[in-house]
């Protein structure tokens, strides 16, 4: 149901209204502006790619912005070997995916209780969760560290997954409420008459229909935890558990004056995501937009 709604956002193009009155000059100016902004967005990425393949001589003067003259793939092998970028990438994925799964389960269950079950405090509880939207993640670093160490979870993936999931929860519930609101209550009623309990309704009716929410929550959660630096730095000290932001910071400390390997690390950290985005851009945008419209 929700999926259909999303599609219409783009498919409305069919009966769109067209630019009739705008003058040619105006249109040209608009395009120049758009192309300029495209350039501003793409150029840093292009420049990052080119300097990841150059030596300092080229970067520092001979050939600042052009394609590399000698493609120096060894920068990549240093980033992989000394920088362990592959490990960090995998770690980031593990942490992010696990966070998404946990956020999703917790948010779905909580939203179900808040929007579908009838009880007095449901509104207050919802407001309580929404507090999470405004809390800065760094504010609670030491208390969380102490707690994690008490329950012996430091230096495990959980040390990041659990706090990340907690901080993504508010957004998750917000999005879920939007999606769940689209599921007609009659379905619950029908299922109840068929003898389903609340759990049965939740698992057989709600969860399958909430599939579109999965992508949306996934994207918002990804944006939150893929970037996170402070917790990742403090809660995990083992090299084999570090995530990308920490790894890149460490590597840039090691290669302050040798830009090539840093560039390579930045590319390794960025391009897989960008490629995935290019192939899935429509889907990703739709899901992102769904979050905005529903939220």
């Amino acid at each position: 149901m929700a999926a259909e709604n999303e599609k219409t956002l783009f498919d409305m193009d069919a009966n769109k209204y067209t630019i009739k009155k705008t003058s040619k000059v105006g249109t040209v100016l608009v395009y120049i502006g758009l192309l300029f902004w495209t350039f501003i967005n793409l150029f840093p990425i292009y420049w990052m790619f080119t300097f990841s393949l150059k030596n300092n001589k080229e970067i520092f003067g001979e050939n600042v912005a052009g394609l590399p003259k000698h493609w120096l793939w060894s920068n990549y092998s240093s980033a992989m070997k000394t920088g362990h970028m592959a490990t960090y990438f995998v770690n980031s994925i593990i942490v992010t995916v696990a966070t998404i799964i946990i956020t999703l389960i917790a948010a779905l269950m909580a939203t179900y209780a808040i929007t579908r079950l009838v009880w007095k405090l449901s509104k207050s509880v919802n407001a309580f969760f929404m507090l999470g939207l405004t809390i800065p993640i760094h504010a609670s670093i030491v208390p969380i560290y102490v707690t994690l160490s008490r329950i012996r979870m430091l230096n495990t993936y959980w040390a990041l997954i659990i706090p990340y999931a907690a901080f993504s929860l508010a957004m998750g519930i917000l999005i879920c409420s939007g999606f769940m609101g689209d599921i007609p209550k009659d379905l619950d009623e029908a299922a109840r008459i068929d003898g389903c309990g609340v759990w049965g309704i939740f698992i057989r009716i709600i969860v399958p229909l909430m599939r579109p929410a999965l992508a949306t929550i996934g994207i918002y959660t990804f944006l939150q935890c893929w970037n996170e630096l402070m917790f990742a730095n403090v809660f995990n000290s083992k090299d084999q558990l570090k995530t990308l932001p920490v790894g890149i910071q460490a590597l840039s400390g090691q290669y302050t004056t040798n830009w090539g390997p840093i560039g390579a690390a930045l590319v390794i950290a960025t391009f897989p995501t960008l490629f995935a985005y290019i192939f899935l851009s429509r889907k990703i945008q739709e899901s992102f937009i769904a979050g905005a419209v529903k939220g």
Binding site: T82, I101, I102, I105, I141, V142, Y145, V146, S149, R150, I151, R152, M153, L154, T156, W158, I203, V207, P208, N233, V234, S237, K238, D239, V246, Q249, A250, G253, Q254, Y255, T256, T257
Partner: protein
């Protein structure tokens, strides 16, 4: 399907918790496991010394299962403090001496090393332990000591007619003026890391007011409100305004500035003597061009040559919470002694321990530093290590303001006298 997934995940969560809970105590076989944190990352010049020392000590102690982890300097400060707050320190940890370790000692988180030290007394001069002694008890194993050295690129000095580093302050200023006139930048200093600025400022203050006066200020025995300090700070600031310092330095990190010095961009570079090895081992033969000396005396009424900034700061300490603290203490001493030994051979600074073995292969720069220290009159520890964390950072922010010409000497002493204590 979802239900199965959820159940599996919940099970995994519970299992992993249980697993984590066990791993702390389960390995109580015959082997003792010891863990260490330090800052000898792969790019750190101390790295080879740590590796060799660890290889030796672990070979001598097959009963100990030793693991170690390294962190980048700034990240480490965050890390170790969070660990101390949670009482989750590793058995052995790297620390800076004086106030940094002092806070941990005051919180009873550090194991007293007096018993373990007895065995090593002969090889570890008491004077090297002063910075890690609190209330008469010893809490740290010093490894290397370092002072601030003034490194000079003799090729550049030769281009303006000098074959030696000028020995008096007036000659020194004259030399800098000549360099500026010739379009050469005299100094490089990383403004992004304020401790680098103190490597210039502290020797200038010390050579103006004398070592004892500066030490008393750092240790809180005398006030910052001292017009002689203001005058010294003004001298330093005059160097900045006269263009002795690379203006780009303010946005650079120390590594970048150091690379510029090696590339021949600056005539002088004042920094810790741990740099000796990197200069001496430079593949392009930079070592042959460099000389190290101390900053000339500015006011001979109060200061004299041989009054240096520095001292033993790099330290290993043992956590009071370690289940094998006694073994960890012995291990730390053996390790510290070897790190010191190998570090000295590599040229990473001077030994805090009495040197042994063949030291003839040490690079000339380190030997020169050795000679300077042999004639030392007194040492004042780096200001950011000597003062407590809060004071040190207030101090650093005022140093930064001086370097940025926001305040002058008078503002410096007045502000510090107000904001510290």
């Amino acid at each position: 399907m979802k239900k199965v997934l959820a159940t599996l995940l919940a099970a995994a969560l519970v299992l992993s918790c249980v697993g984590c809970g066990k791993s702390g105590s389960a390995k109580s076989g015959e082997k003792i496991s010891l863990d260490m944190w330090c800052i000898a990352t792969e790019s750190d010049s101390n790295r080879p010394a740590y590796e060799k020392a660890i290889a030796d000590v672990t070979a001598a102690h097959p009963e100990i299962e030793f693991t170690w982890e390294t962190f980048e300097n700034q990240a480490y400060k965050t890390k170790i403090k969070a660990a101390v707050a949670a009482d989750e320190m590793p058995d052995i940890f790297f620390t800076w001496s004086c106030a940094f370790l002092g806070d941990f000692v005051a919180a009873n988180r550090v194991y007293c090393l007096d018993d373990a030290l007895a065995k090593w007394k002969n090889e570890l001069p008491e004077v090297m332990l002063g910075n890690t002694t609190y209330d008469g008890k010893h809490y740290g194993v010093p490894t290397t000591m370092n002072i601030v050295g003034m490194f000079a690129n003799m090729d550049i000095l030769a281009s303006v007619g000098y074959t030696e580093v000028p020995g008096t302050y007036d000659e020194f200023i004259e030399c800098c003026d000549k360099l500026v006139a010739a379009g050469i930048i005299p100094f490089g200093c990383a403004g992004k890391e304020t401790w680098c600025v103190t490597e210039y400022l502290e020797p200038i203050i010390e050579k103006s007011i004398g070592a004892d006066a500066l030490n008393d200020i750092f240790l809180g025995k005398a006030t910052w409100n001292n017009p002689d300090v203001a005058e010294a700070v003004d001298k330093f600031q005059a160097m900045v305004t006269k263009g002795y310092f690379d203006p780009e330095g303010i946005a650079l990190s120390n590594d970048e500035v150091k690379a510029n010095f090696i590339a021949g961009k600056y005539a002088f570079y004042m920094n810790g003597t741990w740099n000796c090895a990197d200069f001496a081992n430079d593949p392009d033969g930079f070592g042959a061009k460099v000389k190290v000396s101390e900053f000339p005396v500015i006011n001979s009424g109060a200061a004299k040559l041989g009054q240096l900034i520095g001292g033993p700061s790099d330290t290993l300490a043992v956590a009071a919470s370690s289940p094998h603290a006694a073994e960890a203490a012995d291990f730390a001493f053996e390790l510290g002694r070897l790190i010191c030994h190998y570090g000295y051979l590599d040229g990473n600074g001077l030994p805090a321990w009495t040197p042994y073995g063949d030291t003839s292969g040490i690079n000339d720069l380190t030997k020169a530093v050795s000679d300077i220290c042999a004639n030392a009159d007194s040492y004042v520890l780096f200001g950011d290590t000597a003062q407590s964390a809060d004071d040190a950072n207030t101090y650093l922010s005022y140093v930064e303001k001086v370097y940025g010409c926001e305040i002058d000497g008078a503002g410096f002493i007045e502000g510090l006298a107000n904001d510290i204590r």
